[in-house]
């Protein structure tokens, strides 16, 4: 068994970032911004906190992850390929007709994907349902859910937020990838969501706000959230949209962008 220490997670995140930009570059277009900003949180979750067997991905007694910002699927696909849920060469089939790896996560197509997502705002409700189902079954494991900051504009999140607090779902640990940019531009210009922490706190959640690219901070926040006895948790990740893809970082138009394979390889060399 590999030792999951911080140097390991830092190196793993670097590897996942490279794999992800390579698979998007192979296709030539993709959700680069939001796929890059979630690399660290997905790495910490999947290599340290989610224990599941690639040979038995649907075992009910497992931690589950709802990637509500389903367009960040390519990052999770890199991790699942690295963890041998499916062959590595699937990464070159991203978004091609008949693929197992669609732009947005699909629980029926991809081994290791727990919920179908992509219509923004729906994942947190599903995570609430999973947490309730686990409670009925006596499965005492966390349910993780990652939502986007732009996604936070969707009202359904706040319906789900109310219900998770009402049902005292302390096993529900959600994250917001707060990279400050939504599809049409900077959030402050389109539809601002600050004070985000205060919003979640007022809905009855245990809120932490950390550097979303610091694996140590992410890990420690998850460990604290796991100790919570009554409230659901929201961990707000301050991130950089497009992190690591130097020419795309923090650009207002980096939600979905073209990248040719040669450029992708050059970027990989600099990560």
């Amino acid at each position: 068994m590999q030792s999951v220490d911080y140097p390991f997670l830092i190196e793993k995140a670097r590897q996942i970032r490279k794999m992800t930009i390579e698979s998007i570059g192979y296709l030539g277009v993709g959700h680069i911004g939001g796929a890059m900003s979630v690399v660290e949180v997905l790495t910490v979750l999947n290599y340290k906190h989610i224990h599941r067997d690639a040979d038995d991905p649907n075992n009910p007694d497992r931690e589950r992850l709802v990637l509500s910002k389903g367009h960040a699927g390519p990052t999770l696909y890199s991790i699942l390929a690295d963890q041998e849920f499916f062959p590595m060469d699937w990464l070159h089939t991203l978004n091609k007709g008949g693929t197992h790896l669609p732009s947005h996560c699909d629980r029926n197509l991809t081994p290791g994907i727990d919920m179908t997502t992509g219509s923004l705002g729906q994942g947190l409700s599903a995570a609430v349902g999973i947490a309730l189902g686990n409670r009925l079954d006596g499965i005492d494991r966390p349910v993780y859910c990652l939502i986007g900051d732009g996604e936070t504009n969707e009202g359904q999140n706040w319906e789900a937020a109310m219900s998770a607090a009402q049902f005292k779902l302390n096993k529900l640990i959600a994250f917001t990838d707060f990279n400050k940019i939504q599809l049409d531009g900077f959030m402050v210009d389109v539809m601002g969501i600050e004070d985000l922490g205060a919003k979640w706190e007022s809905f009855g959640w245990f809120v932490q706000r950390i550097d979303g690219h610091d694996v140590k901070q992410i890990d420690e926040a998850i460990l604290r959230a796991q100790q919570e006895q009554t409230r659901p948790s929201m961990i707000i990740l301050d991130t950089i949209k497009g992190k690591g893809v130097d020419f795309a970082e923090n650009r207002a138009d980096n939600h979905n962008m073209k990248i040719d394979y040669q450029t992708a390889l050059e970027v990989i060399g600099r990560i």
């Binding site: 029926n108 729906q122 599903a126 995570a127 309730l132 359904q156 109310m162 219900s163």
Partner: protein, 320 residues
Amino acid sequence: MSNYENVEMRAVYTQTLIELAEQNDRIVLLEADLMRATGTQPFMDKFPQRTFNVGVAEANMVGVAAGLSSTGKIPFANTFASFAARRTYDQFFISANYARLNVKLVGSDPGITALYNGGTHMPFEDLGLMRNIPGLTIFEPSDAVSLKKLVKQASEFYGCTYMRLNRRVSPVIYAEDADLQLGKGYVLRDGDDVAIFAIGAVMVNEALAAADVLGMQGISAAVIDMHTLKPLDKELVLSYAQKTKAIVTCENHQVINGLGSAIAEYLSEVQPTLMRRVGVMDEFGEVGDLDYLMKRFGMTAENITQQTLALLKQKEKELV
């Protein structure tokens, strides 16, 4: 006399769910602050841990139901049909159906049975919206007996369903040993001159009354309870199209994209047949009592009779 005479349909629905839940601990119930209307309180009394009231948040209710389903539960999620279709459409479409989960969505107060809640709550479009969801099973029981049987069947197979529930007292049509199957229309009365396909408590009863009136005029009208809109019982539709060469459809819904449309679409390809569709003619709902609304939207035995007579006249002309 049936055990269900003068029993509210919602009470039968709740009792059925309780009986199913006693046998199967995977069955859970979701509500969106309409428990007093849908009448499911006895379920919550019996299974408080398996009942989830999410408040006035139908979209979240369906999303939560999808999550529960992904852990192996069989969620029955209830709200008014107007909200079930319009307000949760994307959640039901993506989180439940597209995700190939197992959510049983129930819309009560279909069509004019919304009564005093009026036009805002009066769904004439829910069947049409639902019909466009691939693979979804859609049904509307016509009485308490069929409700009990069809709910049980819906709970027993894996896949999403949408049921319309008329929650009030409705005449009992079926004997308790009637052999009703989801996906198969039920011939309540055979006939040779015209076939009347009806769906739901209001219209099946009116269709039966219309057939009585037509019978007195020497017209032999078959009446078929088409409780399952999707999948359509094509075999039965085709056999009556061939036999009677005249079909009337009756629904407590828009004539657009409901039962009449489904039958017309099918027959136009295999056996073009003269038809009349009785239902709402591209209008919004409005407030009133049942008697007023039935007349207002032509959901009466009288209108079915008139439409049938007009159809038979046309059939006579075309067959000459």
